[in-house]
């Protein structure tokens, strides 16, 4: 964020300066007009000579008119003030954002033509300002999440306030950073309550981050205006967990898939929309699409529904699809088909996918980069196959040891982590995993381990990852299962 502002300061500030001057003038004029229009009826009424004459009636009528003008002036005054503040904060970059401020200016022509003219001049200077530069290092990246933190406040109860306790927070996501490359499938895995879904919600801006930034193609979206978000939203699409719950049962497949096109004005004609829908359905392997467009959700199987959900996302030609456990509600026999659809749209259309999952066995087959989350933090990152085949963090190891395998002769699964996931209202000090970790030592409860790159392409947040890795490899060898990658 800091370097972003610094680069703006280096921009030719002329456009801003001129716009600032115009708006200041407009503001002063609007203020004067407001006062003048307010003063006129008072002035008229204070003329005793006119009392009881026809002229008094005329002036009273005029008084109502001037009051309306005064009100308009006051509204414009407020707008000029807001614009000036936004300018000072360097928040206005595009012409579109300004337009709303000028509707007032046009209305003002009656009340004060000069103010309206000044506002138009200000818009003109701002329109010449170039947009902010993209974030450094965002080439080839579709999504960058930078030190994202999301706290949900928990109000203390009346009794607690008596005991002198302060309000607390749920640390849903705590200082999480990761990057999703173009056409990459990035997986976030972890137990429930680890903050995976909150990350997705924040990327969609369904909930604002407490701190940190999210960049979509290098542009920051955590502070984007509503108008900018409207442009960005069709390019980030979502596929929800449960295809039985995420569709309107009274809409046909065609209506479900085409709705996004009409909402976002992305189809030029009905025919165009029809073709786009058919193409999207073909891309998710619902062929022939004509057979499916008139069906209602209850006439589709679970796998078909989830493919319709993917088609609904695809039809808007997004660059990023957020998938929240896309196959966990489906039968094992059809999971593979939904996964193969996701893989094929990535290959054909170069769409990146950010996937939240708790199925590590599946993520190894699907995901390129895998981040393991625990209590709002990423504890391990790397190529999915390597993280699953040769985990460094004791938590990742515990997750993997608990995954059953479809082989009755294989050694039984084991519980490596003690107890249950603690609350994230007051997460444990130091390393958050230490109360459940079998490698924990004194330092773990005091110093939080940073997420550091320990091998090329492998990051882990653990003080004793080498010890953990050795123990895991030894264990794997002794049990004679699982060929460790790397």
């Amino acid at each position: 964020m800091k370097d972003l502002i610094a680069t703006h300061e280096e921009l030719p500030p002329r456009g801003y300066r001129m716009a600032g001057v115009y708006i200041t003038l407009a503001m002063i004029l609007a203020l004067v007009t407001t006062i003048v229009w307010l003063a006129i009826p008072l002035f008229v009424l204070s003329f005793p000579v006119l009392a009881g004459t026809f002229f008094e009636w005329v002036y009273l009528k005029l008084g109502v008119y001037t009051l309306v003008l005064a009100l308009i002036s006051a509204i414009v005054l407020r707008r000029t003030f807001l614009m000036r503040r936004a300018l000072n904060r360097r928040e206005i970059f595009s012409l579109k954002e300004l337009n709303s401020a000028f509707w007032g200016a046009f209305a003002l022509v009656l009340a004060n033509p000069i103010t309206g003219f000044l506002m138009l001049l200000a818009r003109d200077s701002i329109s010449r300002i170039s947009p902010p530069p993209l974030r450094a290092g965002s080439e080839g990246k579709i999504l960058i999440v930078d030190h994202l933190t999301k706290l949900f406040p928990v109000r203390r109860t009346f009794a607690q306030s008596f005991r002198g306790e302060a309000d607390t927070n749920v640390h849903a996501v705590d200082d999480v950073s990761f990057e999703v490359g173009k056409a990459q499938i990035y997986g976030l895995a972890g137990e429930s309550g680890s903050g995976k879904t909150t990350v997705l919600r924040t990327v969609l801006r369904l909930t604002p981050p407490t701190s940190g930034s999210i960049y979509f193609e290098g542009k920051e979206i955590s502070t984007a205006t509503r108008r900018e978000m409207k442009k960005i939203r069709p390019r980030i699409q979502v596929v929800f967990q449960d295809p039985y719950e995420s569709m309107n049962p009274r809409m046909t497949t065609y209506e479900i898939v085409s709705e996004g096109l009409s909402v976002n004005n992305l189809a030029t004609s009905t025919k165009d929309s029809h073709e786009k829908v058919l193409k999207a359905l073909r891309d998710v392997q619902l062929t022939p699409p004509e057979e499916y467009i008139d069906r209602y959700p209850h006439e589709l199987s679970g796998g078909q529904r989830q493919r319709v959900a993917i088609a609904r996302a695809l039809v808007l030609e997004p660059d990023l699809i957020l998938a929240d456990e896309p196959v966990s509600m489906l039968d094992v026999s059809v999971r593979a088909e939904v996964i193969s659809v996701l893989l094929s749209i990535r290959e054909k259309r170069g769409i990146a996918v950010l996937m939240v999952t708790h199925d590590l066995a599946l993520s190894k087959d699907v995901v390129d980069q895998l981040g393991i989350m625990y209590l709002g933090k990423i504890v391990e990152v790397g190529a999915a196959e390597k993280v699953v085949g040769n985990p460094f963090h004791p938590y990742t190891q515990a997750l993997i040891a608990a995954v059953p395998v479809p082989d009755p002769t294989a050694p039984k699964i084991r519980v490596l982590a003690r107890g249950e996931i603690p609350t994230n209202i007051s997460p444990p000090s130091g390393c958050r995993f230490h109360p459940r970790c079998s490698f924990a030592k004194a330092i773990c409860s005091e110093v939080e381990p940073p997420l550091a790159e320990v091998r090329p392409g492998r990051k882990v947040a653990c003080h004793f990852w080498e010890e953990a890795e050795n123990a895991f490899l030894k264990d794997v060898k002794s049990r004679g299962v699982m060929e460790p990658a790397n």
Partner: protein, 323 residues
């Protein structure tokens, strides 16, 4: 101990009979874990319901026998089932057990209630036994005074198992006992159920769509498809020496954490309509081995190897190509 013979259970609907369980035979011995695997809608849960005769009104057991220690449950009435069988001999850990607890009663009271109602023991006695049960399933007995919302998902599931064990049943039916639980919690529940089997000698019927979960726990496995058993045998035989194309298809579609990155293969098509199932073998529209014979004649469940039964005309071909 439990022997099911030719069990047929149909649901009566406006469009005809839904043949949810269609000619099922199996045996369960003392202390055994029997896994039932299949897609949703294949009749797994209907089978569990039939065993306890806890079925919706439109369901009817058409024929077959359910012999529990030599006594047939099919002709029994509801009150007889309640006094003789349910809870005391067969008990159920229902699907979505996490939501099966009543939110306005304390967990311990709910467990004790099943004992006082069924056996008429005193409240204090039931309480003492509840504490013991909670300890057995790995929940601190003092938590019995808490309400369900104060429990985590895994603990609620443990409490449900404790309740199912309260009258020391001989058979425990667990219907999808770990769906919606995290892997580490699931691992704990599996360990718990296996230790119950070891210590109390309870037989378990485990119903799940998760191949791996069943592999980890079961001695014997039933693979169900469209209301029928397609493969049945010792789990080692069924998993390693699979003879039915459907079993193989499930295995190819299932991600195995031990293997390097692989492309999963789904089974084409979707499960059939059980009102009018396909003629011949019910799996034939989705089967890569299907020939004319499969469309014409329904294969019988035959014991092709000792203790290993399969219902497929071309099981020998499957065995050769399966690997």
């Amino acid at each position: 101990m439990l022997k099911v013979e030719g069990l047929r259970m149909h649901y009566q609907t406006a469009s005809g009979y839904v043949k949810a369980v269609d000619g099922v035979n199996f045996e369960l011995n003392k202390g055994e874990v029997l896994g039932v695997v299949g897609e949703s809608g294949c009749g797994k849960s209907s089978l569990a319901g039939s065993l306890l005769k806890l079925l919706p009104k439109n369901a009817k057991i058409m024929e077959g026998k359910i012999l529990l220690e030599g006594e047939d449950l099919v002709p029994m009435g509801d009150s007889e089932m309640r006094s003789k069988v349910r809870w005391t001999k067969i008990s159920l850990v229902p699907q979505g057990a996490m939501n099966a607890l009543n939110p306005i009663f304390r967990v311990g009271d709910q467990i004790a209630e099943s004992m006082t109602i069924h056996t008429g023991v005193r409240k204090a006695e039931a309480r003492a036994r509840t504490d013991k049960l909670l300890e057995l399933v790995g929940v601190d007995p003092s938590r019995g005074r808490h309400y369900p919302h104060e429990f985590s998902g895994g603990m609620k599931q443990r409490a449900m198992i404790a309740m199912a064990l309260s009258l020391s049943p001989k058979i425990l039916i667990a219907d999808e006992p770990t769906t919606a639980l995290d892997v580490i919690v699931q691992a704990g529940i599996i360990e718990l159920m296996l230790s119950v089997r070891r210590e109390l000698g309870t037989s378990i019927i485990l119903i799940s769509h998760d191949l791996a979960l069943v592999a980890q726990m079961s001695d014997k496995v039933i693979i169900m498809y469209a209301g029928k058993i397609v493969e049945y045998g010792q789990s080692k035989d069924v998993y390693i020496n699979s003879l039915h194309p459907y079993t193989l298809g499930l295995q190819h579609a299932f991600a195995d954490i031990r293997k390097p990155k692989e492309r999963l293969i789904s089974i084409p098509g979707s499960p059939p309509d059980l009102v009018e199932p396909p003629t011949g073998c019910r799996f034939n529209p989705r089967c890569p081995y299907a020939k004319d014979l499969c469309r014409a004649k329904e294969p019988e469940l035959l014991e092709v190897e000792p203790g290993h039964m399969v219902a497929c005309h071309f099981w020998e071909e499957v065995r050769q190509n399966g690997k």
